[in-house]
């Protein structure tokens, strides 16, 4: 069975990809997979280069990450007690970042099966980024979903309607400051299960 080994060609392709992007590349990270971060104003042109020059024709997905830690934790706080102290620093992940929201997309080369995750910072004030739906036709629906979940506007997108949520929904659910309403209504007792089992024993505190 021919198994395309992903290490050898990858090393040469990494250099190829970085060279193709040139100075649009702001940061990169390579650990089994390749993460790239490009300049905000060069988002669409970078994706175009990746598609045309490097041959990443296959569009896997596009979404966003909100790097702010959730002020609600995991919804396990006792509502009668004051809210605990939480870390609120925004720390981005691989390939760095400077803003709270990042849009990331993953594209693959169908011939060599090398793929890359491309991240881009979304400016905090305008929350707008170029749309790549004319570069990758599949990005149309992914951008719609990202818009309704995060509130990021995509410049040039023909039709930013809600996809999953009702048309008049207010708020952007996947943002960290939008709480999970079910946990607001009834906090989860958390990892320790204090209710006795039907036999009368106290359950142990772990999941297996």
């Amino acid at each position: 069975m021919s198994t395309a080994s992903n290490t050898q060609p990858r090393i040469t392709s990494v250099a190829e990809v970085k060279a193709a992007l040139g100075d649009r590349l702001v940061d990169s990270f390579h650990k089994e997979d390749l993460w790239l971060r490009v300049r905000t104003d060069a988002w669409k042109s970078s994706m175009q280069t990746l598609r045309d020059a490097v041959g990443f024709h296959y569009f896997c997905f596009l979404s966003a990450i909100d790097w702010m830690p959730s002020p609600y934790g995991r919804g396990e706080d006792d509502p009668t007690e004051p809210a605990p102290e939480r870390d609120t620093t925004i720390r981005q992940g691989y390939a760095g970042g400077e803003t709270r929201m990042q849009v990331f997309a993953r594209v693959t080369n169908p011939v060599t099966h090398v793929s890359v995750v491309v991240k881009v910072d979304v400016p905090d004030d305008s929350l707008t980024i170029e749309s790549i739906h004319d570069v990758y036709a599949g990005a149309n629906w992914h951008e719609r979903e990202t818009h309704e979940m995060f509130g990021i506007k995509f410049d040039g997108h023909p039709d930013l309607r809600n996809m999953y949520l009702p048309i008049d929904f207010e708020g952007f659910p996947l943002r960290k400051d939008f709480p999970l309403l079910a946990r607001m209504v009834k906090p989860w007792p958390g990892i320790v299960d204090v209710e006795p089992l039907p036999g009368g024993e106290i359950g142990e505190g772990e999941e297996s």
Binding site: C60, P110, Y136, L180
Partner: protein, 390 residues
């Protein structure tokens, strides 16, 4: 595996053009038809808004979201082992296959690899869930086109596979069997022989379906040349799985990705078809089912002895990092992008589901087709609502 004839394609296009001309001449008014969300044809609550002119579609758009459960938000409040339960329910027909990429991503972040025995059993169960999923597709294909008999055969033979999964994992539909570091339990006694017997039955079922459905002239005339997706459009929209292979792209993540699973330990073939029409998609899934039974047979003969669970702490804390793992699920490419902050639970999980991309091509694909062909195309693209809506 014969290819689509040019005459057939031309005649279909000619009839479409003739109809369009007639509609224009008669100045008929269009009719907006809502297919779904409650409808026998859609696999779940999918709504397709179609503007028709006579029997031709002028414009069609799926409106999904009737089953949106907010999985990505829910994963942020759960611990890693709890996410497995959640994720089972995305593609509920082949549910073991949903757990695997997530578990592999968590293991990648932790730097843990499951023992070889667990890898083999995971692969076998993965292929069994693929067989369960696609055998239902083959039956359902008949119903969408009007042949009411294959679906009963499909359900009958699928029962054997579900019984196997139940005896190994305890759950027919939602096994919840994968754990970070391995599996929950070992296989029960006698399971291997039972599975071998079931694989033989399933090969018989595939032959039956091929005779009953694929060899039928009416089926061929209903599916050949319908919904042709060219190769570059398929890649751009991110179609995956059998849909992509039907357009001639040689793409199978089981072979191309280096994952700690047992796919590359045995001999099997990747099926492609140059046509890109509905028949190609259906035919490839049939062949893939057969291929899966062969994979299972080979793996059954070579499961190594050993533990099924690696040494993993009781309370699982995954170190900081980001990981992406995607596998060749029954529906296509399913992947999880897990962002971890060193907590008990993930910071963000992006679920890349295959059917979302597969359905995103329908506005482009459904223009100009006839109403019966909407059903044929949707049936051949094969989606599960839980996969689209998450």
């Amino acid at each position: 595996m014969t290819m689509l004839g040019d005459r057939q394609q031309l005649s279909y296009i000619a009839s479409q053009a003739a109809d369009a001309r007639l509609n224009l001449e008669l100045e008929t008014e269009g009719m907006t038809l809502n297919i779904g969300p409650q409808h026998p044809a859609t696999h779940g609550t999918l709504r397709i808004i179609a503007r028709l002119d006579g029997e031709q579609v002028v414009w069609a758009e799926p409106a999904c979201g009737y089953m949106h459960r907010g999985y990505e938000k829910l994963t942020e409040v759960r611990t890693y082992p709890q996410v497995t339960t959640l994720v089972n329910r995305i593609d509920w027909l082949g549910s073991f296959a949903n757990e695997v990429p997530f578990i592999l991503a968590a293991e990648k972040l932790m730097g843990v690899e499951a023992p070889t025995r667990a890898q083999y059993i995971r692969t076998i169960l993965f292929e069994l869930s693929r067989i369960a999923n696609v055998s239902l597709f083959l039956g359902d294909l008949g119903v969408q086109l009007g042949a009411i008999t294959p679906v009963f055969l499909a359900f009958r033979d699928r029962e054997y596979v579900l019984n196997l999964i139940e005896s190994a994992t305890g759950g027919r539909f939602h096994p919840n069997f994968d754990r970070i570091g391995g599996l929950k339990d070992d296989l029960p006694a006698g399971w291997i022989d039972e599975t071998r017997a079931v694989m033989k039955k399933l090969r018989g079922f595939c032959d039956q379906i091929e005779d009953l459905l694929f060899g039928n002239e009416i089926f061929q005339s209903r599916t050949r040349g319908i919904g042709v997706i060219p190769r570059d459009v398929a890649l751009q929209y991110g179609l995956s799985g059998a849909n992509l292979r039907a357009s001639g792209v040689d793409w199978d993540l089981r072979r191309d990705h280096q994952l700690p699973m047992a796919w590359n330990k045995d001999d099997w073939k990747v099926w492609t078809h140059p046509d890109g029409d509905s028949f190609a998609r259906c035919w490839i899934r049939l062949q893939e089912t057969r291929e899966s039974t062969k994979i299972v047979d080979q793996l059954l003969g070579s499961i190594p002895a050993g533990p099924v669970m690696a040494k993993v702490p009781k309370i699982i804390k995954v170190p900081e990092g980001e990981a992406w793992v995607s596998t060749e699920n029954p529906l296509g490419e399913m992947g999880y992008y897990v962002v971890s902050r060193g907590d008990l639970g993930p910071f963000r999980v992006k679920i890349r589901s295959a059917s979302f991309n597969n359905i995103s091509i329908t506005p482009w694909l459904l223009r100009g087709v006839y109403v019966p062909d909407i059903v044929t195309i949707l049936a051949s693209l094969y989606f599960i609502l839980g996969d689209i809506d998450r």
